[in-house]
Structures are given as C-alpha cells and as structure tokens.
Symmetry: C2
Subunit: 372 residues, 2 copies
C-alpha cells in the first residue's frame, strides 16, 4: 500500500515523490549549469550535489551572483532542539560546513527553542537542556568559530523580537492557516512563531547595515516557512533568501518518510558503537531476498535498502566505491549482512571522531554565542 505523501515542517510521511514536491512547492531543480557554477565557486562538487541529495533550490543563481560579486552572502541553517541529534540533521550540517569552508562566508545557526517549546508537549526546562545538548553536536560538526554565530531564539530575543514583529505585521492568521494548517485551537505562540524563523534570513543585513544575500541549506520539509518568509522580507527592504534543499535521509525502517528524533528508529550522534551495530542489524530495512539462495540468484534491491541509501546519502563519498557496492548488491554478490557491516564501520568511524570533538565542544560554546 502506498501511503499518501505528507510533507510540512511538522510531519513527513508516506513515499515522498520529489518530482511532485518540486511542482507542488514551486521549487527549481538544481540544473547542470548551476552545478557548474557551484563547482567553479567551491573548487569541487560535493557528492551530495553530484548525487542530487541536494536536489532543489530557490534563487540559488542570485545567491551565487552576490557571492561572486564580492562575497555578499551568508549561510543560515538551524536546529529545533527537542531531542538528540540524528544522522538526518548531521547530513544537512555537514553539507553546510562544506559550503562555509569552500565559500569562506559566515554561517548564522538558529536554535529554535521557542518553536520546540510551543509545538511540543515538553517543558521549557527540557527544551533548554536539549538546546545545551544540541549545541555540542553542532560545534562538533566543525563549523568555523570565527565565522559562525549561534542565534538562540529565547536568548537572542533582545535582537530578534523587534525584527520579528516587522515580519509578523505583514502575515495574517489566514496566511499561517493555509501555510501551516494552524487552526482556532493553535496556541498564539505557535501562530506567531514563523516570524522568528524568518529573522536570521535578514538579521545579518540589519547588523552589518548592508543588504546581503542569504542562502539556506535545509531539508525540503522546511520550505513552507521560507516560502512565506520570501514573500515578506522584500517588503522590509531585504533580499529574498535563497535556499538549497535536500531530500530526506530515510528512517531505519524503510525509505518512506524521514529520520526523526520523535518517531521511528534513528541513529543518534551520541549512540555507542554497540547501539549502532544493534540498530542497523535489527532495524535497517533490507532490500535483500528472503533466503541466501534466492539473494545469490536474483540479487538485492539497493534502491529500497536503507543501508545502501545511508552510504549514498552520507557515508560513502567515493562514487566508484558506491557504484561497486550497488552493483555487487544488485547482482547478489554482496549479502545484506556484508552491506550492513560496511555501513556499521562507516557510521562508527564517523561517530568516534564526532564524539571526540563533542567532548571538546563544551569549552567552545562561548566562541559561537552571539555578542549582542
């Protein structure tokens, strides 16, 4: 049974048809021409671009124009702190770090602690605990502390609220109703919230007193926020923010939906090697056949195999190696257990290094907090 596709900032479920999403949301595919420009500007093409994990955009050409004219560009991404960080988050951030390194531009990283408090059945104290926790993971990703500013909505409200109300004045209840499905029972903080998410897209322009281009790397489910933002910000005199959008790292249980902290099985950046091994072995949906014999004879299906997808999305940057795994699995030469073993090693090697940096991150936090 094919489940109906649902994609919005608060729910992703069903088999996601990205072609349909591009048409529905009014996105643009990243063209070969744009890939060429990105390659010229960054020196190389990240495998997530080559493989079209980042597949869609809005105004990426404009962002590159401004960058090429004189680095008049900053990056903006973020995190909703309500649970442990999983691989889906890390994917977007790893790509963002790459962009930051290659382009040498500032990143503004938003922690939407207000959003998570307002939308989830969690206390303010719980959300603050997760904010502290998640900051460590963000820092461990390796962003340049000299070019990265953390914006924590409740902590930086002194700067943000006065800009947010300028956005809010131009958005009606009827607009958030149609964009996000708000209703009469929605709390008034959640109704207001999208104004806060809009702010980092122009706050650097306010602070630096010059109109800068903003490029937002994000997973495609966040598009409704920024679609509304793009309509409003030009009315305040700032450029529409551009975006570069990726598809969803699937949950362990199958290629439908997306990895999520709050449901399904996820791999967290704080998982131990044993936990990773257990999760992959126990939960990672396999494209293999029911019996060893059948698998050897007919081969597996890497396109629905979650372990293969994780290699493709994140853990095997080498296209040739990936292709070999694809072919070996499809032909039946490689068994599911062997494929899973490759992935377990890759993830654990990534997490070992991440967790080492995460311990060091506590002493780095102050370097990332915005000096108001």
């Amino acid at each position: 049974m094919k489940k109906e596709m649902v994609v919005n900032p608060w729910e992703v479920s069903g088999n996601v048809d990205y072609g349909k999403l591009i048409r529905k949301f009014g996105l643009s595919k990243i063209s070969e021409q744009l890939l060429e420009r990105l390659k010229k500007d960054t020196g190389e093409l990240h495998f997530m671009l080559r493989r079209k994990i980042f597949f869609a955009h809005r105004d990426l050409g404009f962002a590159l124009d401004e960058y090429e004219k004189g680095k008049n560009l900053f990056l903006y991404t973020g995190c909703g702190p309500s649970g442990p960080i999983h691989l889906g988050h890390a994917l977007v951030w790893a790509f963002t770090k790459w962009l930051q390194d290659k382009l040498g531009v500032e990143l503004w990283f938003q922690f939407t602690d207000d959003e998570k408090f307002l939308f989830k059945d969690k206390t303010y104290a719980e959300i603050q605990k997760w904010t502290e926790n998640n900051m460590l993971d963000v820092i461990a990703i390796g962003f340049n502390p000299k070019k990265t500013n953390f914006l924590i909505d409740t902590k930086n409200a002194g700067l943000m609220y006065k800009e947010a109300i300028k956005v809010a004045k131009k958005i009606t209840f009827s607009m958030v109703k149609s964009s996000f499905g708000m209703n009469e029972q929605s709390n008034i903080g959640s109704i207001f919230y999208t104004s806060m998410q809009a702010v980092p897209a122009f706050l650097p322009s306010v602070i630096k007193k010059k109109n800068m281009a903003c490029l937002i790397p994000h997973a495609v489910d966040q598009d409704p926020h920024f679609r509304l933002t793009r309509d409003i910000i030009p009315k305040l005199g700032y450029h529409k923010p551009a975006s570069i959008q990726c598809s969803f790292l699937p949950p362990l249980t199958g290629v439908a939906g997306k990895m999520s902290s709050s449901k399904g099985q996820s791999i967290f950046l704080t998982d131990s090697p044993k936990e990773v091994e257990m999760k992959i072995k126990k939960y990672a949906f396999s494209g293999g056949r029911d019996t060893l014999e059948e698998h050897r004879k007919k081969g597996g299906n890497p396109d629905v195999d979650v372990s293969f997808q994780y290699l493709k999305f994140f853990f095997e940057p080498d296209d040739n190696k990936l292709k070999k795994i694809y072919n070996d699995y499809k032909s039946g030469k490689m068994l599911t257990s062997e494929l899973k073993e490759i992935l377990i090693k890759k993830i654990n090697s990534f997490l070992k290094e991440h967790q080492r940096k995460r311990v060091l991150a506590k002493k780095q936090i102050h370097k990332f907090l915005l000096k108001e």
Copy 2:
C-alpha cells in the same frame, strides 16, 4: 441619541454605564471596607478613591494582604507609545505615583511599543520616537527612580520573550478571538501580543525568585487583557495579578467615550498655556444654559460639564472647594466662562511644573531603564 457603549482595549465609545461594565466584566466595586484598609495602609485616601474615580478592582484585598504581611507587592502600569501623552494617561500615573509613594513599593512601567507598532498604521521608527517622547512624560510625573523599572517590550525582549511564550502556549486563537475580537485577517504579531502584556505581572517574581503580588492601576478598558492574564498566570505558578480600575477622563467634546490621542480633542502634557486656554474655551463641552439670563435663573449642569468633570477627576483635590464649585454652577451663580477660567488656571499650573520636570527628564532616563 444614546450611543451604544463599546469598551475594549482598542475602542471606548458611547455613554459608559459603569455599573453595567462591572457586571459585564465581572469586576468588584471598591467597598467601604477596602477603602478603610487602603486608608490605613497609605495614611490617607486619595481624592480619586474618595470620589470613586477609581471605582472597581479585582483581588485588591489579596494585594493588600500581601502588602501588609511584608510589602510582598509591586505595582505595574504602562503606556502604549503612539502619540503625545494626554491628561487621561497622567491621571492614572498620578494615582500610581501616589500609591508608590505611600506604599513604598516598586513600580514596573511597561512601554508597549510592539503593541502600537502591530496595531497602528505607524512605522517602527515613528513608534520608537514616541517611546522616547513618552518616557519623558512618565519620568516627569515624579516616580521614584530607585523603585521604578521601565520595561520597553522591544528593548527588553531578551528578558520578556522567553516568559511571554510560556503564557502564549496556554492561550489559543479562539481565546483571543473572543477576548479581543481577533479574526482571520489579524496579523500574527497582534494575535501574540497579549502574551507580552502579561509578562510584567510576574516578571519581578521571576527576577527576584519569589512569588510576589502584583497590583495594576489602569483604566477599565484594559481589563480584557488582564482578565485573560489572570486565567493563565496561576498555571505558571504565580499569583493572579490584582487590579484597581478607574473610569475614563472624558474627551473635551462631552462626557461619552474617553480622552484619546488618536481621536477627538485632547489636552496634551506638552500643550502651551495658550493652547490649553483655546482648547478649553473652544471645545470643552459646557453644561451651561444657552443665554446668560437663563443660566442665572435655572443654573448649569455640572454632571455633563466637561470642565467640572476635569476638576472632579484630576485638578481640584479639595472636596470642599469642589463642592462649592458644583453648587455655584448648579445654582447659576457661577458662569461657564468662570468655571472654564478656574480649570484653565489649574491645568496650566500643573503643566508648567510638569514641563519643567520634563526638560530635566532627559538626563534621568538611564536611571529608569532596566539593567538586564
């Protein structure tokens, strides 16, 4: 023709029936017993209490309990900065200053610049200009700088927003729809706003880490804000704010409605003596008769005479003098021109002193701004 009474935070019009308002809003009259307690706590009864200008309350008894137990009480009032300050504002603040002086407690004074920006067709810069301007008038009223903290919503959002979202999470769109008449076309900042107005009622308790009673002196049209606030704040673990509410200083044009910066004729705290004289002579609705002869014979009606009402509400604290004016005007012994002359002198004497202090206020602002 009797116009229908409308009383809410954004509109006051028609002949206000205060008895009906008490029943409709569910307020309590200030009883003789409470007046006795107030007299005991303050040493004397302010003429606005004796004359029932401040006529209604919520939980005033509780506020006095907490005060009497150990001064566990603070005052909260405020100002929406969108135009010049008029006598109606000054009345509430003069009473609040008296309470502060007599009780020796802190006052938290809120400037709702976000509200005015979100609800009025004015730019952010205009509202900021009015905030600066209005602060001078507030300071000139004579509040004790050692016991008064200004809260400017956009400037102090760093402290306020994180408390406001705790309020907002407990208020639905449907609740602000029924309390304030919000609709689908309302902007999402205006929908959120009441959460910010709730914050000063418990922020001192947050900062001082002890649950304090809050007493809000205000004109009765603000009651819907605090009615909602009173339902929510106990859910956050703080006391319901108490209030002491006054009737409306009438506009110059007649005893219906209230004095307002945005409509009708008002006397501003920055008016010159000539302007005051002209406004009173030209606009102040008179309870006098059409001809001098008729007035001498039948007498005037002080109850609808705006000049007399201003003396009663604000400018003649001496009950005996007021009574004499009342009787003389009613008997026809005093003419409208004489009554107006008395009022003009009183107002100009008040404004002379106010404007002198207002010039000095610029150098005092820093003493009132909250040190975060």
